[in-house]
Symmetry: C2
Subunit: 145 residues, 2 copies
Amino acid sequence: MMLIKQVGVMVNILNCKLKKHIASVFKSEGINLTAEQFLVMDTLWNQGEMTQQSIAYIIQKDKNSVTQFIDNLEKKGLVNRVVDSSDRRVNNIRLSKAGMAMKDNTKNVAIDILNDIVEGISEEDLKTFVKVLNKACDNIEKLKE
Amino acid sequence: MMLIKQVGVMVNILNCKLKKHIASVFKSEGINLTAEQFLVMDTLWNQGEMTQQSIAYIIQKDKNSVTQFIDNLEKKGLVNRVVDSSDRRVNNIRLSKAGMAMKDNTKNVAIDILNDIVEGISEEDLKTFVKVLNKACDNIEKLKE
DNA sequence: TCCCTATTTTTGCATTATCCAAACATTAGG
DNA sequence: CCTAATGTTTGGATAATGCAAAAATAGGGA
C-alpha cells in the first residue's frame, strides 16, 4: 500500500528532476534543446527522415505537441519540413546540416547523463525497472479501452 | 546501452500517461484536482497543517510552484493560508472543511488508479522499481553538488 | 534600539508542455 | 465528382516550471 503510493509520487519527482538536470547539463554544454526536443532529434538521428505522425507515435506525444516541437526545432534551424512528393498532406521532417552536426556530441552527453543517473544500480535492477515502466504504460493504455 | 536509453524516454512517457490518466479519472469522478494539486492535498491529509516550505520539501517542488499550487487550491476553497502566530513570515496551510470532506473518496480513487496501473506486476518487481526510482533521484541530487 | 543579514513567501515575467476543437489542404473511395 | 478520412496547423486555454526581484518579518550583534 505504502509502496504503491510511492510509485505515483516518485515517477513524477524523477521525471521533473531528470528534465531539470538534462536542461542544466545541456545548457552548460552549449546544447540548446529541451528534453522533449531531444527526444525528437534523437528519433531523427536514429531513424532518419520521417513524418510528424511517426515521430508522435515513437515518442508517444500527441500531434499538436509534435507540431510545436518541430516549430521550435525549425526556428533553431535544426530540422526542415519537406512536403512529401507522393502525398502533399504529409510533412517529412528532415535534419538540417546543423541538426546533423550536433548529433555525436549531443548523444554522448545524453549517454553520460544517463550513466551518471543509473550509477550504482545493477543491470538486473535496471532491466526490471524498464520492464515495469513498460508494463505500467501498457496497463494505462488498456484502461482507456 | 539500449537499456539506458529506454530509461530516459520511458520515465517521461510514463509520467505523461500517468498525469493524463489521473486527470481523466479524477474528472469522471468529479474530483477537480491536477496531479500536482493532489500531491499537495495528500500531503496535508497525511500530515496535517504545515508550511509551504515543508510541502515543497515533501513533494520536491520549488517554492514558486508550491505558491501557485496553494493559490489554485485556495481559489477552489480546499485550503487556507493561516499566518503562523510565532513567525509571521510563515504561512501554515490548513485544510478547509471542503478539503477535508473530499479526503476519503479521493484517496480511494487514487489508490484504485495506482492498483490498476501496477496490475500484473509482482510485489518484488515493484519494490525494485521504487528502489531504482529513489536511487536515480539521489544520484541526480548528488550530481548537483 | 538600530542595522545587517537571513528566511519565507509573493510577484512579474517568460518558456514550455499539454489539451481541445475547429480549420485547412489533400487524398482516396464510391 | 462528392464525401469521408487523413495529416497538419491554428487559436485559445490551463498548467508546470524557472528566474530574479521585491516584500515582510525575524534574529543577532554592536
